[in-house]
Amino acid sequence: MTDHKNNSSSIGHPGLGNLTRRDAMFAGAAAFAAGSLGLAVSARAAAPAAKPTGQAILGFSQEVTVLHPLMTSNEVDQGVWWNLFSPLWLIDARGNFVPVLAKSVPTLENGGISADGLSWRVELRNDVKWHDGKPLTAEDVRYSIGLMKNPAFRARNRTAFDMIASVAVEGTHVITWKLKEPYAPLTSTLSWTFIVPSHVLSQDPDPNSPKFAAAPVGTGPYRFVSRKTGDYVMLEANPGYFGTVPVVNRLIFKYVPDLNAMYTQFKTGEIDFVGLAGIPANFYKEASALRGRRVYPAARSAVENLTLNLAHPALADKAVRKALNMAIDRQSICDIVYYGLPKPANSFLVPGHWAYNASLPKSEYDPKKAAAMLDQLGWVKGADGIRVKNGVRLSFTNSTVTGNQLREQTQQLIADDFKKIGVEMLIKNMVAAVLWADFWRNSEFDSLMTAPTYTIASDPDVTHRFGSGAIPKETKSGSNVSLYKNAGVDTLLARGRQEYNLAKRKEIYAKVQELIMDDLPFLPLFNLVEVEGTKAGLDGYAGNVNALSNAWNAASWRWTA
């Protein structure tokens, strides 16, 4: 069992290298995260834990899809993976990297990463066993990385793995790899890469191994028991877990497709935890007053926003975008539609993210100034009250996924805000399968209302969102659907990807935020908050914006009443 002190001396990551090894906050955070995952500290020396008992039913409005942790997935899947599998390291709620399967997180300082940033060396714990009793070895890590690069495997996202030139097993528990060029976001990517068993998967000629996906074998605190499609996935405590064995014997990930039904079942006690997509905001007050229940406004890493298409003749003008940004009454949206839960946003990163630029100006609401700006730009109101300039009407459509009532109300409020300054925003909503297809990919929209998480695995590298080479309409890759191009941003992003020092990376991304928020390829609305809840007797819940699901540490939950 890894000692906390050993952990703290080796924790760090390419971006966190300037923290001292004895940094108290860091150690505390690491202990919190390690404890949360059941990687505790002196479990081996402690008295044998009592036999796990009881169960916890976790409700989600999305169904678990694949149980193979390297395939395409949704947020709920990751919640299951955190309990079935283990990554090399994780990112805790404060943004710190904490070793899980690895003995330490490689950095320039601890020698895990070579001075040129190209060679990485990871030493694994030697006390980890798969659920079938076989020991975890470096070969499993090599196999997992190889699988992500295998063209026949339906991998989720290969961007970071394409940067790995070669992988070598240097001993039973030591693995090394070489990168094509320094790539700092790899540490974050690996925090969401759950290691799969080579001895099981290599037996299957099909790299996608449906057999494994149906009955996975992991190293996590829980092992797979059964699945009823359309209903639930059941896990049970793994007595051979290398960390602290969970106290709750069974975890059940239950699918409750309707949010109202999920909240009702939370009220009646049929589910013990309400996870994604949470308790509807309109029930927040009522839920807070329920006896025997606790509710948590859980911050997500997503930013609700209006994504603009910069090819639109009116929206192409930065000054118009600034006027629009100023015309939105964000506070009213937060208060009226979302019952005061979220806070207005002013960046693509959320406050609390280690790279968030706290000195960015707050989004200002001043419709008079916005109108004056448009007047100054020569946008003159026509007979219908909508501004026109050079034959172009200041009118555009806004689209979101149909059925999201709160978003539809927000659209109405914003359309009303814009109307006050002589701008027309027409609502044109569609089903998800249509919106997230060519309409999004080929930038066929004028503007969208969505809530993307701009980071991948919490790394602030947003090349895929704002890089000029990441416009899917032009390059068939990336997610820069606003068609945003800024050479200065491109240069900074390229530097940020190769910079392993946290302080320097932080500076780079602070500047990136300044530039992007000055250009406004999207208009930030608010930082997403979802209301989650547990029964009062269920302890251990810990929100983490660096995980997709707050079931990430369910292994350390326990019943106290």
Binding site: N157, N208, T229, P257, D258, A261, A433, D438
Partner: protein, 318 residues
């Protein structure tokens, strides 16, 4: 008889082929695809979607995709879900049980209550009871299932705490009593509308029969009213009901979209709704073929039952 069955079988195969072609075309021509939903999570880019499309073979010409799908289906391979990689038949198998449990219980309840109301309404035509039954049926048909579901949950689960608010069983219990408790509310909600429908069918069918000459003759011969009702009227009134029941078989298996969603019932209706929403082509096609087979089987069964209920009708005789 065997010639009749063979001809019905050939007709069924032709119909299934047509249904499969039309469904396949409509499904694939609808905007969006099975992978586009993953773009919303931000963990996949369009390049990943392109790669996955190629891996699934979704970028090939549609006729080729259809031929592959049909060929696999004929060899017994119904494909795998794009969502969870499980075989389509396994998914259908897991959902059909809960649906049958819910639909059969609610249909039986509705047939029993609706049948009795219909018979009484016909026998006592224009009585207070008949008017009450007519108004009741109109009200039951007008109540939105979604609202009624939420209302019974609010009363019996939230306020009184008598019955569970959703699910098919308490996970970890699953005893018969527990399953019955979970079944009760969705069964009542579904039965409400069906009871109204069955009562109206039964009433009009009975009215047709009780005005026939042979009923009048039986009455004039002094046969006891109950005997006339059960032995003479009801048996003949049930004939059209057999057709309706036969056509109802497919409904029994396709589930109830709204009720299954409100009550978190893991049945076919919800599977279909989720699969269409996620453009899970293999599952949607599998379910459509399964339902089409059941429709054809149901109508064949109804025809065969006709000859059992009414000896004058001989199946296959022109």
């Amino acid at each position: 008889m065997s010639r009749y069955l063979l001809s019905r079988l050939l007709q069924a195969l032709l119909l299934l082929w047509l249904v499969s072609m039309i469904a396949f075309a409509i499904l694939h021509l609808a905007p969006g695809g099975p992978l586009s939903q993953f773009l919303a999570t931000g963990t996949l880019g369009p390049e990943d979607i392109e790669r996955l499309m190629a891996q699934y073979g979704l970028n090939r010409p549609l006729p080729l995709q259809y031929l592959d799908w049909a060929g696999n289906l004929l060899s017994g391979d119904w494909g795998r879900s794009y969502r969870d990689d499980l075989p389509v038949l396994t998914k259908i198998g897991m959902h059909v049980g809960p649906t049958l449990e819910l639909m059969i219980s609610s249909t039986l309840l509705a047939m029993l209550i609706g049948g009795m109301i219909g018979i009484l309404g016909a026998v006592r035509r224009y009585s207070f009871f008949d008017h009450l039954a007519t108004i009741g049926a109109m009200v039951a048909l007008s109540i939105p299932t979604f609202w009624f579901g939420l209302a019974v949950i609010y009363v019996f689960s939230v306020n009184l705490g008598w019955l569970p608010a959703g699910g098919r069983e308490t996970i970890g219990d699953g005893s018969v009593l527990d399953r019955m408790q979970h079944l009760m509310l969705p069964c009542i909600v579904l039965a409400l509308v069906s009871t109204a429908v069955w009562s109206r069918y039964m009433r009009s069918s009975m009215l047709d029969v009780i005005n026939q000459d042979y009923i009048r003759t039986a009455r004039s011969k002094g046969v006891a009213p109950v005997r006339i009702l059960i032995h003479h009227a009801l048996r003949n009134a049930l004939l059209p009901m057999i057709t309706i029941t036969g056509l109802h078989v497919s409904t029994l298996l396709s589930g109830a979209l709204v009720t299954e969603t409100v009550f978190t019932w893991p049945g076919m209706g919800r599977l279909f709704l989720d699969s269409v929403g996620n453009r899970d082509y293999p599952v949607v096609m599998g379910m459509l073929m399964f339902t089409a087979c059941m429709v054809l089987l149901g109508s064949l069964l109804a025809d065969l039952l006709y000859s059992v209920a009414d000896p004058r009708i001989k199946v296959g005789v022109q």
